[in-house]
Amino acid sequence: MRAILAWLEERTGAPSAIQHFLDEEIPASAGWHQVFGSVAMFLFLTQVFTGIMLALNYAPTPGEAYNSLRYIMTELTGGALIRGLHHWGASMMVIIVVLHMVQVFLWGAYKKPREATWMMGVILLLVTLAFALTGYLLPWDNRAYWGTVVTTQISASAPGAGPYVLRLMGAENGVGVVTFARFYAVHVLVLPPLTMLLILLHVYLVRRHGVAPAPGDEVKPKQKFYPRQVFKDTAAISLAFIILFSLAVVAKAPLGRLADPTDTTFIPRPEWYFLFLFQLLKYCEGPLEILASVVLPTLGVGLLFLVPFLDRAPVIRVTKRTTAFAIVILAAITWSGLTAAAVRSTPPEAFAADREGPMEWRDLTPEELAGVSYFKSESCGTCHTLGLRQEGKPGPNLGAGGAARDAAWMIAHFKQPASMVPGSQMPSVSLSDSQLNALAAFLLKLTPQNAMKMQDIPQYVLDGAALYQKNRCNLCHQVNGVGMKTGPPLNGLAHRRDATWVKGHFLDPQKFSKDSMMPAYPFTPQQNEAITKYLMSLP
């Protein structure tokens, strides 16, 4: 080991360079408050790593992007975790970078001679946000698509530069393949090397000027960077990583429906850290709009940039920097106020939009499918819309993802509508208890995303499922994991039997399998056709 080190030292000088790096003198006051820069750098490296991992299985063109990401998340072991780390890592990165700036701001560490270090940091903040903005489009789901539509429209409103920015983003004729290619290229080819270069310069400047001392440090003995501060940095990094990892495991990174430019029901929302701008935009109408979309953000960044020149007073103890604290608190209150207002004004549809619900009738249980058939047979659709905007029907839109009711509430409401909703004009639904249960089960699965699809389920599926439900087939058989296992599960039936066998088997089970304990079901030919076709199409 020693021989190898000596060899390396003689040929490259790397060991002594590392030693020199670790032995850097830092002021006596250095400590836990200075860990954020290291954490931000760690998060950036993690993003690079998980980003490369994703890119190994990702096809960067609009339609394929979505399918390949879905493949990563559902079919590759660990794929969902890696995307989770990348998705939540982006949010963490924004948080940590902001915390880093707040710390430097509070301690006044941007003062002479560290102005350039600060300005480099502001550029790094902008680069982080550019990463977030370009990465947002890459899943190519509705969120990504509509979010980017809004982003490009805002850029287009910039006075003078608007059309050029729009052309640069390839979005003159709307968000499409060119926009996608540009965003992807910027996200993976332009920003990463740029960030590395900026970090290098940033760290070089930190080293050149030394870690900012606090007043009184000059009389105290200095410390070395290693191992005390390195340990503190590593501990903070570990804490950040534990939070990130837990988020990636517990909270699934969203992947909604494939982007649909004709979907007028989708309500785009920016990522949470941009919500305040979004809210600001709402307060400024007409000619004022430009104020919120372009002028204020530019002004804010400009002010941030000029902080070291606006405050040239000598460094004082952090506890005495009341103005700095006041500014940070004011900024925090403004930000949280606007964000809270934006969250509060978010229509429930937008929240429900994250909840996709089953998209295919094959994902529904026979009970839920029977619910769909009762919805039709009871003509619920005469008064209620599913999914689309109100069409002037008297009852509420059931697919709007509004206030969620539970099954018990719904069943009580079906039986005696006015008992749950005073003044309701709805007639009571004359179905049996088990049928009402099925109806409620179906309504619970409705989301704004799948409501339209639920109206296109083939009739034989509805009839078949209703028969299945009526004859309580679930007491012996299982479909989609629901039901008993006395008889064979029915998923994949088509691989085992053909339709003639199934039809005949209903009428006389023992003729086909001698020891079967299944009773005969004397279906009419139409009924038999429907239930057989339904069962044969189960995956």
Partner: protein
């Protein structure tokens, strides 16, 4: 110059704790990445039997190359691709179907009528009509598809070596 340093014991602890934490993070990132790259994708089986045509005219010991279309998963895509099989009726009852690649380096071989052998033009591997290596660098006999004969139709399944239980 005077430094404010830690005593030996505390310094040792800080160094070891730093190393341990770094190793944990490295593992938590490295292991999922390894699994992600080296575990095959959860297969959505699209295999099954494909009709390769009528073989009632197939003569005994006269190999024929039959084209067929099969559906398979290619990453996130379901693709249909054209494929072929060398089909031989070895006896009245036995029909075999060889995959069309030489077992050496995957070149396409053909049936040499005059010699009564399968011949690979790349590195001159020769195979007998029942697939055995006669000479050349091929490491094993020709690979076979699972086959089923229903009436006059030949159904081709997955490759024998890749099929379950084979």
């Amino acid at each position: 110059m005077q430094y404010n340093t830690d005593n030996q014991g505390r310094r040792g602890f800080l160094v070891r704790a730093t190393q341990a934490l770094s190793a944990l993070i490295g593992g938590a990132l490295g292991i999922p990445a390894f699994v992600y790259l080296f575990t095959p994708a959860k297969s959505r089986s699209t295999g099954g039997w494909v009709d390769a045509g009528d073989i009632s005219q197939l003569k005994l010991n006269a190999p024929e190359e039959l084209p067929f279309r099969r559906v398979r998963m290619d990453g996130w895509k379901i693709i249909t691709e054209k494929s072929t099989a060398w089909v031989v009726r070895l006896s009245e009852k036995e029909v075999v179907a060889y995959t069309p690649q030489c077992t050496h380096l995957g070149c396409a071989y053909h049936w040499e009528e005059s010699k009564g052998q399968f011949l690979c033009p790349c590195h001159t591997s020769n195979f007998s009509i029942d697939g055995k290596v006669l000479n050349g660098p091929a490491p094993r006999p020709l690979d076979r598809y699972l086959v089923k004969v229903e009436g006059d139709r030949l159904l081709i399944g997955p490759e024998q070596s890749k099929a379950k239980g084979a």
